[in-house]
């Protein structure tokens, strides 16, 4: 029986519209709304403050000023008041950003680099390598993330006095990095699997290009966008995780972090809530910004994919 005419250009339009309600998120990604600009500005400000903290005219975050003990904002000379033992809140929040952001960034970088590479390898070579790597990912993912991180930190950086702050920090970053690896690994693997079936990759293979070169030049640039949004979202998750770990006493001591500020301030919640809520607000806005931008990046790249 003869074939019906191939869809005229008009038909596609009807099909698309006749299909039903349209996905709203896509159209939102064309312009950055208020929230988008807020997110970018907030993150820029926070990162700038964190980087510049040592040279800013701030009082020592670890020094106690008796006058402002437990005093809420606004105090003369101490804009955000003092915490339970009189340390300057503003200074602590800004210095706290340094470690919290560092932890977030470094852990995600570890997850991205290690997890991403492993995923690329697994997705491209498939077969037994994929089997082994996927099992590795699955086992790591089989444990509740927080539990895994807690166990690693507790074991490798026990909280006795001879554990230095920097060692604790390294362990913390490593633990959260390890937890991030399978997440990013799975995504890069899935993305690689999809992209390595495309013709241009096959073409490169046929031309005799070496696998490493193919991965680097053909597959990687296409896998990157999917991972970008996950990286942003992941940073938010890790920064929050630092806070959670602090509540268990598993975060760095000696230096302020947003998590430890919240954990320490819990005892005073009834009477002096600002001690807890100031770092909480900083944490919230940072995570919100990272989440929103991650979402925007994802939507933008998903749209491009579907046009393909």
């Amino acid at each position: 029986m003869p074939e019906p005419l191939v869809d005229a250009p008009v038909d596609a339009g009807i099909a698309a519209v006749a299909a039903g309600p349209e996905e709203v998120e896509v159209s939102r990604s064309r312009k950055l709304g208020f929230l988008g600009w807020f997110s970018i500005i907030w993150l820029v400000v926070v990162v700038a403050l964190a980087l510049l903290a040592p040279i800013l005219p701030l009082p020592d975050p670890n020094r106690s000023f008796g006058a402002i003990t437990e005093k809420p904002p606004i105090q003369p000379g101490h804009f955000l008041g003092g915490d339970g033992i009189g340390r300057d809140m503003l200074s602590r929040v800004i210095f706290g950003a340094r470690i919290s952001l560092l932890v977030g960034f470094a852990s995600v970088v570890i997850g991205w680099v290690v997890g991403g590479s492993l995923g690329l390898v697994a997705g491209y070579f498939k077969g037994r390598i994929d089997g082994v790597l996927s099992t590795l990912f699955n086992v790591l993912l089989s444990m509740p993330a927080l539990v895994l991180a807690l166990s690693l930190v507790a074991v490798f950086a026990s909280s006795d006095e001879n554990t230095s702050t920097s060692r604790k920090l390294v362990v913390l970053i490593a633990a959260l990095g390890i937890v991030s690896i399978p997440v990013l690994g799975r995504i890069s693997r899935a993305s690689t699997l999809a992209w390595s079936e495309r013709e241009f990759v096959k073409a490169a293979e046929v031309m005799g290009a070496k696998p490493l070169r193919i991965i680097w030049r053909e597959v990687l640039p296409n896998v990157l966008p999917a991972m970008m949004s996950i990286a942003l979202l992941g940073m938010g998750v890790v920064i929050v995780a630092e806070g959670a770990l602090a509540l268990f006493g598993a975060s760095v001591q000696g230096e302020p972090t947003w998590g430890t500020m919240i954990a320490d301030g819990r005892g005073d919640l009834r009477n002096y809530p600002h001690i807890v809520f100031i770092p909480s607000a900083a944490l919230f806005f940072t995570v919100l910004s990272l989440n929103y931008l991650g979402d925007v990046v994802r939507a933008r790249f998903e749209v491009r994919e579907s046009v393909l």
Partner: protein
């Protein structure tokens, strides 16, 4: 209503009543469905797509109307528009659709919904995607009965069993508990038919009911539909791109192109006395079993027009063999050739209009016919003396068996 001699294009009277069908003796009480100047438009970023652009039809009880057209002609949208089964947003429907006197366009949604299933039903094209994949077949059949007719489960189930037997499904009691993916394509379509017939509707829309099926199964399904229709005295609107499907199975055929009806006639008359060149081209493109092997399929070159801004003249003109100046400038109205036979053309088949051969862009004709004026496709146009117009096969036309024409399959028409 006598009509002027339909073969004389110049005297096409124009505004005769396009609502009357064959058998203008039909009284209003027989008319099940009356569609009056129906327009359906979809709002898109590019503008409003006029998928159905002023269609009028009537249908009596127990009669079958075939709606034929290529993809994009608006035939599916038409059947959905008549029923009202359109998306809620970005769709505009204007005109009148009278079902037993009730205007479906203006009636409240609940009233229209009450009619669906109980009075009118639709059989969809692809039974694999149209049946709920995670619901048992029995439930899908009985749902309408229990909802509209208030049957209890036992009665509905025994009815469903009977229906399955009627549509020719073996082991119906086993099938009731199965899921769509467990059945073959032909069986699924039979189930779909059972679902549609469950509440005993008076009007059934069959939207390309056999397109997704094997050739061998198609005839079975069509025969089944015909039989059911006769037994239940149902009216049916059979939508298809395939003239072969409607040939022996309809009382009347309406041919659609670019959102409009371009020819409409009782079936026998349509085949015997084709007027509209588009219909003629459709007829010619049907492959004939006893044609010599390796004969080329006749295809209609070109594509349907843009439905957002349709051209001012006849919409088929750019692809028509008989196109003249007037065709490109004025949209012909529907005129009656003989009682019940309407067509929309300034120079219909058999009127002696000269034939034009279209050459697609970039193609080189085998015959050394020099490309003259740049035509619609950037190719050449050559006017040739009218050959044996109106018949199938027409080898009198130079260039008809030409490899340059209609070669690449993507421009094939049914």
């Amino acid at each position: 209503m006598s009509s002027p001699n339909g073969t004389d294009p110049g005297s096409a009277g124009g505004a005769t009543d396009p609502f009357a069908t064959s058998g203008s003796t039909a009284t209003a009480s027989h008319r099940l469905l009356e569609v009056i100047d129906l327009h359906t438009g979809f709002k898109t970023p590019r503008g409003r797509v006029r998928a159905v652009d002023g269609v009028s039809l009537t249908l009596e009880r127990g009669r079958t109307l075939g709606i034929v057209g290529e993809s994009g002609s608006g035939k599916t949208v038409l059947s959905r528009s008549i029923m009202g089964l359109l998306p809620k947003r970005n769709v505009v429907r204007e005109g009148t659709v009278l079902y037993e006197g009730i205007d479906l366009v203006t009636a409240p949604a609940e009233q229209v919904r009450d009619l669906w299933g109980a009075e009118m039903a639709m059989i969809f094209q692809d039974p694999m995607t149209s049946l709920n994949p995670v619901q048992r077949l029995g439930a899908q059949i009985t749902e309408g009965m229990r909802y509209h007719l208030g049957m209890d489960r036992k009665t509905a189930t025994s009815n469903a069993l009977a229906l399955l037997r009627e549509v020719g499904i073996p082991e119906p009691d086993r099938r009731l508990k199965q899921y769509p993916h467990e059945l073959s394509g032909g069986m699924r379509q039979r189930v779909m038919i059972a679902v549609a017939l469950a509440c005993g509707p008076k009007l059934v829309f069959a939207d390309e009911p056999t397109t997704a099926l094997d050739v061998t199964v198609q005839a079975q399904i069509l025969n089944l539909l015909q039989r059911q229709q006769r037994e239940r005295a149902m009216a049916m609107i059979l939508v298809t791109h395939d003239l072969g499907v409607v040939a022996g199975r309809t009382d009347e055929i309406a041919v659609m192109y670019a959102g409009q009806v371009v020819e409409q006639a009782p079936t026998a008359q349509l085949f015997a006395n084709v007027r509209m060149p588009y219909t003629e081209a459709l007829l010619q493109s049907i492959p004939v079993l006893d044609a010599p092997s390796h004969s080329r399929l006749q295809a209609i070159p070109g594509r349907p027009p843009d439905l957002v801004n349709p051209p001012p003249g006849c919409r088929f003109a750019p692809r028509c063999r008989y196109v003249q100046e007037r065709c490109l400038q004025e949209l012909p109205p529907l005129v009656e050739a003989e009682p019940g036979h309407w067509y929309r053309c300034w120079f219909p088949v058999g009127s002696g209009a000269p034939v034009t051969v279209h050459i697609g862009a970039g193609e080189v004709p085998a015959d050394p016919i020099p490309a003259a004026v740049a035509g619609d496709f950037g190719g050449g146009e050559q006017v040739l003396p009218a050959g044996g117009a109106g018949g199938a096969g027409g080898d009198g036309d130079a260039g008809r068996g030409d490899p340059a024409l209609g070669g690449d399959g993507s421009e094939g028409v049914v």
